[in-house]
Symmetry: C2
Subunit: 183 residues, 2 copies
Protein backbone atom coordinates (compact mmCIF):
# COMPACT_ATOMS: atom_id res chain seq x y z
CA UNK A 1 0.00 0.00 0.00
CA UNK A 2 1.30 3.48 -0.78
CA UNK A 3 2.31 5.83 2.00
CA UNK A 4 -0.89 7.77 2.57
CA UNK A 5 0.17 10.20 5.25
CA UNK A 6 2.79 12.90 5.62
CA UNK A 7 4.08 13.96 9.01
CA UNK A 8 5.76 17.33 9.59
CA UNK A 9 7.60 17.05 12.90
CA UNK A 10 8.94 20.20 14.50
CA UNK A 11 11.72 19.86 17.05
CA UNK A 12 15.40 20.45 17.69
CA UNK A 13 16.67 18.59 14.63
CA UNK A 14 15.47 17.89 11.11
CA UNK A 15 16.27 18.16 7.43
CA UNK A 16 14.84 21.69 7.19
CA UNK A 17 16.12 24.48 9.44
CA UNK A 18 13.50 27.01 10.58
CA UNK A 19 14.39 30.59 9.70
CA UNK A 20 11.13 32.19 10.81
CA UNK A 21 7.73 31.39 12.32
CA UNK A 22 5.04 34.06 12.03
CA UNK A 23 1.47 33.72 13.30
CA UNK A 24 -0.47 35.43 10.48
CA UNK A 25 -3.97 34.85 11.85
CA UNK A 26 -4.61 33.33 15.28
CA UNK A 27 -2.14 31.87 17.76
CA UNK A 28 1.51 30.94 17.20
CA UNK A 29 2.85 27.41 17.17
CA UNK A 30 5.52 26.53 19.71
CA UNK A 31 8.91 27.58 18.38
CA UNK A 32 11.08 24.84 16.88
CA UNK A 33 14.58 24.86 15.39
CA UNK A 34 13.93 22.41 12.56
CA UNK A 35 11.27 20.36 10.78
CA UNK A 36 11.50 16.80 9.52
CA UNK A 37 9.17 15.20 6.96
CA UNK A 38 8.11 11.55 7.14
CA UNK A 39 5.63 9.51 5.14
CA UNK A 40 3.84 6.41 6.45
CA UNK A 41 0.96 4.09 5.57
CA UNK A 42 -0.63 4.74 8.97
CA UNK A 43 -1.00 7.88 11.06
CA UNK A 44 1.94 8.06 13.46
CA UNK A 45 1.62 9.57 16.93
CA UNK A 46 2.90 13.08 17.57
CA UNK A 47 6.64 13.37 17.92
CA UNK A 48 9.06 16.24 18.64
CA UNK A 49 7.60 19.51 19.93
CA UNK A 50 4.61 19.06 17.61
CA UNK A 51 3.64 16.96 14.60
CA UNK A 52 1.25 18.10 11.89
CA UNK A 53 -0.26 15.26 9.85
CA UNK A 54 -1.99 15.29 6.48
CA UNK A 55 -2.69 13.49 3.22
CA UNK A 56 -2.66 14.44 -0.44
CA UNK A 57 -5.89 14.02 -2.40
CA UNK A 58 -7.62 14.62 -5.72
CA UNK A 59 -8.18 18.21 -6.86
CA UNK A 60 -11.18 19.78 -5.17
CA UNK A 61 -11.80 22.99 -7.15
CA UNK A 62 -9.59 23.09 -10.26
CA UNK A 63 -11.46 22.66 -13.53
CA UNK A 64 -10.18 20.90 -16.64
CA UNK A 65 -8.50 23.89 -18.28
CA UNK A 66 -6.91 24.91 -14.98
CA UNK A 67 -5.63 21.40 -14.31
CA UNK A 68 -4.12 21.32 -17.79
CA UNK A 69 -2.43 24.70 -17.26
CA UNK A 70 -1.05 23.60 -13.89
CA UNK A 71 0.25 20.27 -15.19
CA UNK A 72 1.93 21.99 -18.14
CA UNK A 73 4.10 24.34 -16.11
CA UNK A 74 4.28 23.28 -12.46
CA UNK A 75 7.53 22.07 -10.90
CA UNK A 76 8.00 19.00 -8.81
CA UNK A 77 9.39 19.02 -5.27
CA UNK A 78 13.06 18.33 -4.60
CA UNK A 79 14.72 20.55 -7.24
CA UNK A 80 18.39 21.00 -6.27
CA UNK A 81 18.15 24.81 -6.44
CA UNK A 82 14.99 24.95 -4.31
CA UNK A 83 16.67 25.15 -0.92
CA UNK A 84 14.05 27.50 0.53
CA UNK A 85 10.69 26.21 1.73
CA UNK A 86 7.58 27.40 3.51
CA UNK A 87 5.16 25.32 5.58
CA UNK A 88 1.92 27.26 6.00
CA UNK A 89 -0.76 25.44 8.02
CA UNK A 90 -4.22 26.93 7.49
CA UNK A 91 -7.60 26.48 9.13
CA UNK A 92 -10.84 27.73 7.60
CA UNK A 93 -13.94 28.74 9.53
CA UNK A 94 -17.09 26.69 10.13
CA UNK A 95 -18.86 29.13 7.77
CA UNK A 96 -16.58 28.01 4.93
CA UNK A 97 -17.19 24.32 5.52
CA UNK A 98 -20.96 24.82 5.67
CA UNK A 99 -20.94 26.22 2.12
CA UNK A 100 -21.97 24.04 -0.84
CA UNK A 101 -19.42 23.07 -3.50
CA UNK A 102 -20.47 25.78 -5.98
CA UNK A 103 -20.36 28.48 -3.29
CA UNK A 104 -16.83 27.50 -2.25
CA UNK A 105 -15.68 27.31 -5.88
CA UNK A 106 -17.18 30.78 -6.52
CA UNK A 107 -15.17 32.31 -3.66
CA UNK A 108 -12.03 30.27 -4.41
CA UNK A 109 -11.69 31.15 -8.07
CA UNK A 110 -14.29 33.58 -9.45
CA UNK A 111 -13.79 36.03 -6.55
CA UNK A 112 -10.30 35.19 -5.32
CA UNK A 113 -8.53 33.86 -8.45
CA UNK A 114 -6.65 31.37 -6.28
CA UNK A 115 -5.44 29.12 -9.13
CA UNK A 116 -4.94 32.01 -11.55
CA UNK A 117 -2.78 33.82 -8.98
CA UNK A 118 -0.73 30.72 -8.25
CA UNK A 119 -0.16 30.11 -11.98
CA UNK A 120 1.65 33.44 -12.24
CA UNK A 121 4.36 32.13 -9.93
CA UNK A 122 4.97 28.83 -11.72
CA UNK A 123 7.35 27.16 -12.29
CA UNK A 124 9.50 29.12 -9.81
CA UNK A 125 7.40 28.11 -6.80
CA UNK A 126 6.72 24.37 -6.41
CA UNK A 127 3.78 23.56 -4.19
CA UNK A 128 2.03 20.63 -2.60
CA UNK A 129 -1.23 20.65 -0.66
CA UNK A 130 -1.99 18.25 2.16
CA UNK A 131 -5.45 17.94 3.70
CA UNK A 132 -5.98 17.31 7.40
CA UNK A 133 -9.39 18.58 8.53
CA UNK A 134 -10.94 15.15 7.94
CA UNK A 135 -8.51 13.32 10.23
CA UNK A 136 -9.11 15.45 13.31
CA UNK A 137 -6.00 17.61 13.05
CA UNK A 138 -5.88 21.18 14.44
CA UNK A 139 -5.47 22.70 10.95
CA UNK A 140 -7.47 22.00 7.78
CA UNK A 141 -4.57 22.21 5.30
CA UNK A 142 -0.79 21.98 5.34
CA UNK A 143 0.57 23.91 2.36
CA UNK A 144 4.19 23.27 1.40
CA UNK A 145 6.25 25.36 -1.03
CA UNK A 146 9.80 25.03 -2.35
CA UNK A 147 11.74 27.70 -4.25
CA UNK A 148 15.23 29.01 -4.92
CA UNK A 149 16.54 31.89 -2.76
CA UNK A 150 16.21 34.29 -5.73
CA UNK A 151 12.43 33.70 -5.75
CA UNK A 152 11.78 34.53 -2.11
CA UNK A 153 10.33 37.96 -2.88
CA UNK A 154 8.06 36.40 -5.52
CA UNK A 155 6.84 33.94 -2.91
CA UNK A 156 6.16 36.81 -0.50
CA UNK A 157 4.11 38.50 -3.22
CA UNK A 158 2.13 35.31 -3.86
CA UNK A 159 1.09 34.80 -0.24
CA UNK A 160 0.37 38.54 0.14
CA UNK A 161 -1.99 38.41 -2.86
CA UNK A 162 -3.85 35.38 -1.51
CA UNK A 163 -4.15 36.91 1.97
CA UNK A 164 -5.89 39.95 0.46
CA UNK A 165 -8.42 37.81 -1.43
CA UNK A 166 -12.05 37.26 -0.35
CA UNK A 167 -11.23 33.59 0.29
CA UNK A 168 -8.99 34.63 3.19
CA UNK A 169 -11.98 36.07 5.08
CA UNK A 170 -12.72 32.41 5.81
CA UNK A 171 -9.21 31.66 7.13
CA UNK A 172 -9.23 31.78 10.93
CA UNK A 173 -5.80 30.32 11.70
CA UNK A 174 -2.62 30.61 9.66
CA UNK A 175 1.04 30.24 10.63
CA UNK A 176 3.85 31.02 8.18
CA UNK A 177 6.97 28.91 8.76
CA UNK A 178 10.02 29.57 6.57
CA UNK A 179 12.81 27.05 6.17
CA UNK A 180 16.11 26.35 4.47
CA UNK A 181 17.46 22.94 3.59
CA UNK A 182 20.29 21.88 5.90
CA UNK A 183 23.59 21.90 4.00
Amino acid sequence: MDASFIHFTGGQTGAWQVTGMTPVIGPALDAVAAIDLHTATELLPSNGTWTLRGFSSNVRYAEKTEVEQLRAIQSGLGRPEAICAALIPIRKSAAWWALAQDERRQIFEAQSHHTATGLQYLPAIARKLYHCRDIGEPFDFLTWFEYAPMHESAFDALVAALRQSPEWQYVDWEVDIRLTLQA
Copy 2:
Protein backbone atom coordinates in the same frame (compact mmCIF):
# COMPACT_ATOMS: atom_id res chain seq x y z
CA MET B 1 -11.37 16.45 19.73
CA ASP B 2 -14.33 14.91 17.94
CA ALA B 3 -14.27 11.31 16.81
CA SER B 4 -12.99 11.63 13.27
CA PHE B 5 -13.06 8.02 12.12
CA ILE B 6 -15.69 5.32 11.76
CA HIS B 7 -14.75 1.66 11.80
CA PHE B 8 -17.02 -1.01 10.33
CA THR B 9 -15.81 -4.32 11.75
CA GLY B 10 -17.11 -7.53 10.22
CA GLY B 11 -16.93 -10.69 12.29
CA GLN B 12 -18.97 -13.21 14.25
CA THR B 13 -20.76 -10.73 16.48
CA GLY B 14 -21.97 -7.16 16.21
CA ALA B 15 -24.94 -4.84 16.49
CA TRP B 16 -26.00 -5.45 12.87
CA GLN B 17 -26.69 -8.98 11.60
CA VAL B 18 -25.66 -9.63 8.00
CA THR B 19 -28.52 -10.91 5.83
CA GLY B 20 -26.69 -10.85 2.51
CA MET B 21 -23.34 -10.00 0.91
CA THR B 22 -23.26 -9.58 -2.87
CA PRO B 23 -20.20 -8.66 -4.94
CA VAL B 24 -21.74 -6.28 -7.50
CA ILE B 25 -18.51 -5.36 -9.31
CA GLY B 26 -15.18 -7.02 -8.55
CA PRO B 27 -14.29 -9.51 -5.82
CA ALA B 28 -16.32 -10.48 -2.77
CA LEU B 29 -15.40 -9.61 0.80
CA ASP B 30 -14.86 -12.50 3.21
CA ALA B 31 -18.21 -13.58 4.62
CA VAL B 32 -19.11 -12.34 8.10
CA ALA B 33 -22.12 -12.92 10.35
CA ALA B 34 -22.37 -9.42 11.77
CA ILE B 35 -20.95 -5.90 11.59
CA ASP B 36 -20.16 -3.55 14.44
CA LEU B 37 -19.67 0.23 14.14
CA HIS B 38 -17.14 2.14 16.24
CA THR B 39 -15.98 5.74 16.17
CA ALA B 40 -12.57 6.92 17.40
CA THR B 41 -10.31 9.97 17.31
CA GLU B 42 -7.50 7.89 15.79
CA LEU B 43 -7.48 5.16 13.16
CA LEU B 44 -7.74 1.82 14.94
CA PRO B 45 -6.03 -1.32 13.59
CA SER B 46 -8.10 -3.90 11.75
CA ASN B 47 -10.20 -6.12 13.96
CA GLY B 48 -12.56 -9.09 13.35
CA THR B 49 -12.48 -10.72 9.90
CA TRP B 50 -12.01 -7.28 8.31
CA THR B 51 -12.35 -3.64 9.27
CA LEU B 52 -13.28 -0.88 6.83
CA ARG B 53 -12.33 2.60 8.01
CA GLY B 54 -13.51 6.01 6.84
CA PHE B 55 -14.33 9.59 7.75
CA SER B 56 -17.17 11.97 7.02
CA SER B 57 -16.35 15.23 5.25
CA ASN B 58 -17.79 18.34 3.66
CA VAL B 59 -19.96 17.97 0.55
CA ARG B 60 -17.89 17.49 -2.59
CA TYR B 61 -20.40 17.95 -5.45
CA ALA B 62 -23.74 19.21 -4.10
CA GLU B 63 -24.54 22.80 -5.00
CA LYS B 64 -26.44 25.30 -2.86
CA THR B 65 -29.96 24.45 -4.06
CA GLU B 66 -29.25 20.73 -3.78
CA VAL B 67 -27.84 21.07 -0.26
CA GLU B 68 -30.96 23.02 0.75
CA GLN B 69 -33.24 20.37 -0.73
CA LEU B 70 -31.33 17.60 1.01
CA ARG B 71 -31.30 19.34 4.38
CA ALA B 72 -35.03 20.06 4.14
CA ILE B 73 -36.13 16.45 3.77
CA GLN B 74 -33.35 14.03 4.72
CA SER B 75 -33.65 11.77 7.75
CA GLY B 76 -31.05 11.22 10.42
CA LEU B 77 -29.59 7.84 11.32
CA GLY B 78 -30.94 5.82 14.22
CA ARG B 79 -34.71 6.09 13.58
CA PRO B 80 -36.46 3.37 15.67
CA GLU B 81 -38.30 2.00 12.59
CA ALA B 82 -35.14 1.87 10.44
CA ILE B 83 -34.03 -1.64 11.41
CA CYS B 84 -32.71 -2.46 7.92
CA ALA B 85 -29.35 -1.17 6.73
CA ALA B 86 -26.97 -1.51 3.81
CA LEU B 87 -23.20 -1.04 3.84
CA ILE B 88 -21.98 -0.59 0.26
CA PRO B 89 -18.22 -0.05 -0.08
CA ILE B 90 -17.29 1.43 -3.46
CA ARG B 91 -14.02 2.03 -5.30
CA LYS B 92 -13.73 4.26 -8.36
CA SER B 93 -11.18 3.87 -11.13
CA ALA B 94 -7.95 5.81 -11.60
CA ALA B 95 -9.64 7.45 -14.61
CA TRP B 96 -12.27 8.97 -12.30
CA TRP B 97 -9.70 10.37 -9.89
CA ALA B 98 -7.65 11.90 -12.70
CA LEU B 99 -10.64 14.01 -13.77
CA ALA B 100 -10.89 17.68 -12.79
CA GLN B 101 -13.60 18.86 -10.41
CA ASP B 102 -15.93 20.14 -13.16
CA GLU B 103 -15.60 16.90 -15.14
CA ARG B 104 -16.51 14.78 -12.10
CA ARG B 105 -19.41 17.07 -11.23
CA GLN B 106 -20.66 16.83 -14.86
CA ILE B 107 -20.75 13.04 -14.72
CA PHE B 108 -22.06 12.91 -11.14
CA GLU B 109 -25.06 15.17 -11.60
CA ALA B 110 -25.63 16.46 -15.15
CA GLN B 111 -25.26 12.98 -16.67
CA SER B 112 -26.09 10.69 -13.77
CA HIS B 113 -28.49 12.76 -11.63
CA HIS B 114 -26.96 11.25 -8.49
CA THR B 115 -28.40 13.78 -6.02
CA ALA B 116 -31.69 14.16 -7.91
CA THR B 117 -32.18 10.38 -7.87
CA GLY B 118 -31.37 10.13 -4.17
CA LEU B 119 -33.81 12.96 -3.37
CA GLN B 120 -36.68 10.86 -4.74
CA TYR B 121 -36.12 8.33 -1.96
CA LEU B 122 -36.00 10.78 0.95
CA PRO B 123 -36.95 10.77 3.76
CA ALA B 124 -37.55 6.98 3.66
CA ILE B 125 -33.87 6.14 3.10
CA ALA B 126 -31.40 7.74 5.52
CA ARG B 127 -27.85 7.85 4.21
CA LYS B 128 -24.36 8.71 5.34
CA LEU B 129 -21.22 8.82 3.22
CA TYR B 130 -17.76 8.05 4.56
CA HIS B 131 -14.59 8.72 2.56
CA CYS B 132 -11.58 6.41 2.73
CA ARG B 133 -9.48 6.69 -0.45
CA ASP B 134 -7.28 9.34 1.16
CA ILE B 135 -6.31 7.17 4.13
CA GLY B 136 -5.00 4.21 2.14
CA GLU B 137 -8.06 1.99 2.50
CA PRO B 138 -8.98 -0.62 -0.13
CA PHE B 139 -12.23 1.16 -1.04
CA ASP B 140 -12.78 4.87 -1.81
CA PHE B 141 -16.18 5.25 -0.10
CA LEU B 142 -18.23 3.47 2.52
CA THR B 143 -21.91 4.26 1.93
CA TRP B 144 -24.32 3.49 4.75
CA PHE B 145 -28.11 3.46 4.47
CA GLU B 146 -30.90 2.87 7.03
CA TYR B 147 -34.56 2.23 6.24
CA ALA B 148 -37.68 0.50 7.51
CA PRO B 149 -38.46 -2.99 6.17
CA MET B 150 -41.37 -1.59 4.12
CA HIS B 151 -38.89 0.52 2.11
CA GLU B 152 -36.56 -2.30 1.08
CA SER B 153 -37.91 -2.44 -2.47
CA ALA B 154 -37.53 1.33 -2.77
CA PHE B 155 -33.91 0.99 -1.67
CA ASP B 156 -33.36 -1.73 -4.29
CA ALA B 157 -34.77 0.62 -6.94
CA LEU B 158 -32.47 3.43 -5.79
CA VAL B 159 -29.28 1.38 -6.05
CA ALA B 160 -30.43 -0.12 -9.37
CA ALA B 161 -30.94 3.38 -10.81
CA LEU B 162 -27.48 4.53 -9.70
CA ARG B 163 -25.83 1.38 -11.05
CA GLN B 164 -27.26 2.12 -14.50
CA SER B 165 -25.95 5.69 -14.50
CA PRO B 166 -22.87 6.88 -16.45
CA GLU B 167 -21.14 7.53 -13.11
CA TRP B 168 -21.06 3.79 -12.45
CA GLN B 169 -18.82 3.20 -15.47
CA TYR B 170 -16.12 4.56 -13.15
CA VAL B 171 -16.93 2.14 -10.31
CA ASP B 172 -14.53 -0.78 -10.39
CA TRP B 173 -15.32 -2.45 -7.04
CA GLU B 174 -18.63 -2.58 -5.21
CA VAL B 175 -19.96 -4.95 -2.57
CA ASP B 176 -23.56 -4.77 -1.33
CA ILE B 177 -23.96 -5.85 2.29
CA ARG B 178 -27.47 -5.95 3.75
CA LEU B 179 -28.12 -5.96 7.48
CA THR B 180 -30.79 -5.97 10.15
CA LEU B 181 -30.48 -4.52 13.62
CA GLN B 182 -30.11 -7.21 16.27
CA ALA B 183 -33.27 -7.36 18.40
